[in-house]
Amino acid sequence: MQTQKQLLIAGLVALTVAAAQAAGDAQKIVVDGSTTVGPIAKAFAEYYMKAHPDVNITVSESGSGNGAKGIINGSIDVGTMSRAMKTEELDAAKGKKRNPVQHIVAFDGIAAVVHPSNPVKNLSKDQLRDIYTGEINNWKKVGGPDLKIVVISRDTNSGTYETFQEKVTKSERVTDRAEYVGSNGAVRQRVQSTPGAIGYVGLAFTEGVKALTINEIEATTDNVISKKYPISRGLFMYTDGAPAAGTALADYVGLYKTADGKKLVGDQGYVPVQ
């Protein structure tokens, strides 16, 4: 009894010491920024921490703007962004003697999708814009059947919405008839079950629906990489200065160049860098 208790105490002490040591030794990488790049950063973090249990990576998603802010203030190690840093942000960083270095970790392409029974195959980017701003509200105006267009959009929270707005609707207002749903999967589900619907999803979500060609260019990974496909953008990670080779930070950010990293990017529905 006595020995058992002693053993237990000894064990507890040893555990505490070990934990304290681990905490002391553990390297911390703090990641914050875009909700679009977040899944990639998280997948990378999980993958990297499995191989290196002594490294602790925390990933937050509070928006691309906060990713830039964090790098400027030096409060984070990696800023994830679904757009490049603006000149003002670069200037602010320089003012604080920081040197933001850009890493393109993936590309993000957005496909316009319609119901499989819809005969329309192609839309120009302008037609797509007019559909989303409400100027075109019937499929017959773009060579389809006499059917009301049900416009489906992602919620304004999503990076996909941001990209779509940036590349297609620009500063124009999306029609107030547009229906909003909360995920790529929900867009696909609604389009799949609604004959007159049009929606937009990440390239990985076109199964079961019909992806349109935009300006006669197919929404494929190759066309995204070659930048022929018009609705796509780069996804970035920013660090303060290029991370020194061999450090955990360099390994983590550099994951996108490895085969496993590319697979992780693909799994998240994005296009890996070639």
Binding site: V150, S171, G182, A186, Q189, S193
Partner: protein, 378 residues
Amino acid sequence: MMNSAKSSLMLSRSANRNQRLARWFGEGFLLVVTSLSMLAVLFILIFIARDALPFFSWTHFKEFFVSTAWYPTQNPPSFGALSILFGSLLVTLGAALVAIPLGLTAAVCLSDVLPFRVRQTVKPVVEMLAAIPSVAYGFFALIVFAPALQEHGGPMLAWAFWLVVTPFLALTLLVLADLAAARFAENRQNLVRGLVFALLGAMAAWGLWKTGRRLHGLEISSGTNALNAAIILGIMALPTMVSVAEDALQAIGRDLRMASYALGATRAETLVRVVIPAAASGILAAAILAIMRAIGETMVVWMASGNAARIPEPWYNLLEPVRTLTATIAGDMGEADQSAGSAHYHVLFAMALVLLLFSLACNIVSERMIARTRRRLR
């Protein structure tokens, strides 16, 4: 020995003080615990108001309640919430139209028509509807109900219309025919009753057929619309309505019913003229609780209503998508930049404040109603 016994019986001054202190402490503790929930409500109100008020400068105030342009992320943004307020009201109204008549009928049936044994099993089953998580309802609305509305919307509406309206019309016709017949002499009553019934019946049938045909021909382009959300919300509010209304009907007691029967009233007369009026305030309270259940629901409306921020044309068109306050708050909260204290962040709190004030008002009214029933029954 005797001395100690005596002292243990007698309360010394200090013991007295200690006991008083303990009592104060105990009572105070209980008071704190009970007021915690009240304080929670108070604090929620204060904090929501605190974050909502920065939004309400005069221009914003006017825009919020007058404009229908909801573009919070556009540059420049506009925060017209009229269409969203309207969407909330429309969906809630639709849900009330589903839940209140259906719930009241079910409550009357449970309390006065069905035998006791059946009631004992049916009521828990109805109440089980309340235990289904709302996301399950939302999933059903999105995956099953919305596509069904798109494919067979017209026929579904027509059949629902016929099913609901036909028995109601038939009942009304019978009563009308009886009333008309009562004005004539005994030997001609049957003839008059038959004539009136046939005439009005033909008219009603024609109306039913015409309206049904029109509904049958409707094309619903998008199944996630106000109707979808209203029906699902109505079903979700049903257990509240049934349960509370049934309790109110039960609370009337046997005496009133027996007195009514003793005066020669039929069961229908007893129900319509005695039981329901006596329980009216309880039934109203049930209706208000059901409405609150509907207006506060988030997940289902987010999934089922389509979330398009516009007032349908015409305004009562339930077949167009609408956006509600709750869905907007849930959908936009993530992106509204907290640290910057942006207008978009504060406008969501303004919406929460509107919702909160509305349900507080409803709550107070229903409390009053329930209290009134109790007083009257005493």
